[in-house]
Symmetry: C2
Subunit: 167 residues, 2 copies
DNA sequence: TAAAATTTTCAATAATTTTTGAAAGTTTTA
DNA sequence: TAAAACTTTCAAAAATTATTGAAAATTTTA
């Protein structure tokens, strides 16, 4: 396998992992392409390499910029826009975590809390509240871990984890 | 909001969270329904409550059993099968983590390792290998955390995390 | 053993999500 | 200012994923 093949394999692999975690395949592939590219790429470069339409490139690049993991870059003497991905994978991990936490986990925690408030003291209601409370505990716990992974310095995840392993 | 409404709200909320993490909505809803139900439910109970077809119930209940988070149960004097969800949410968390780790993360780690092996010493190849290596580090790290969450006792996640927070 | 009850399968259909591509919009150049 | 270069939008089409429901298979009862 040569370098080009390896890059393609990597782009495909990342795309399929993304799909099973609810991230659009093309978005992941565009990101992967920018990540392994040594120079900034234009919309056309991406279109050609991934064989996708202009509109699709535009939509997905914007989504990546919105997630804070891709930046626009200007190349001297060139009119069009170019894009680059941050090469720091920890930064990537932090950004993705941050976005998903905010968009998906926090709203669920809010609903779980609201549901706890129902005024009903039957055994059935109390059993339900117990389930909700347990769910909140796990969800909060996951949320906290993610929060710290975001807040702390680059290698929080690895360094803290290593410490736990050694205990 | 009364108890019934709260249960429905919870089932819907869980279903939509599941969707954004690549889990089938109905599968999550069936699980949520079993989780808040005080007694075992038959395929028909599920069909009626969630307004879905027999085939759909069958497919999704089997998937849940396959994931190890729902069990068949027999009710005396009844011919048909009934289903229950483990009420221990930590157990649920562990099972889901275990399955996703095995099915999705481990295969990716394998590919990343394979790709590292390309025999090419150009600057470009080395840069690519660096990206792969960083990805492997983060992925391995996430994988290890999940591994420990699975192996250790019920409240590993919470107790260890609390300790880190207090440092 | 055979009829009844129940579960499973899976081709067809429906719903959802993604992608296209051409038109509209914007920015830059001359 | 207007033509060229480029980007964005979005309705329609394509692709993917989920669901139905009726037929086949299996299990239970009598």
């Amino acid at each position: 396998m040569n370098l080009e093949e390896a890059k393609i394999k990597y782009i495909q692999t990342w795309g399929s992992l993304a799909t099973s975690w609810g991230i659009n395949k093309t978005m992941a592939q565009v990101h992967a392409l920018l990540l392994v590219s040594t120079n900034p790429l234009s919309a056309e470069d991406i279109m050609e390499t991934l064989k996708i339409s202009r509109g699709n490139v535009n939509m997905n690049v914007r989504a990546l910029i919105d997630w804070g993991i891709v930046k626009k870059e200007f190349v001297v003497g060139e009119r069009k826009e170019f894009f680059v991905a941050d090469k720091d994978i920890w930064e990537l991990f932090k950004q993705i975590t941050k976005e998903r936490k905010k968009r998906e986990i926090e709203p669920v925690l809010k609903v779980l809390e609201d549901l706890q408030q129902i005024k009903d003291n039957s055994d059935e209601a109390n059993e339900f509240k117990k389930v909700l409370s347990d769910l909140s505990t796990v969800t909060t716990s996951v949320n906290s871990i993610l929060e710290n992974a975001i807040k702390a310095d680059e290698h929080w995840l690895l360094s803290n984890f290593t410490r736990i392993l050694k205990k």
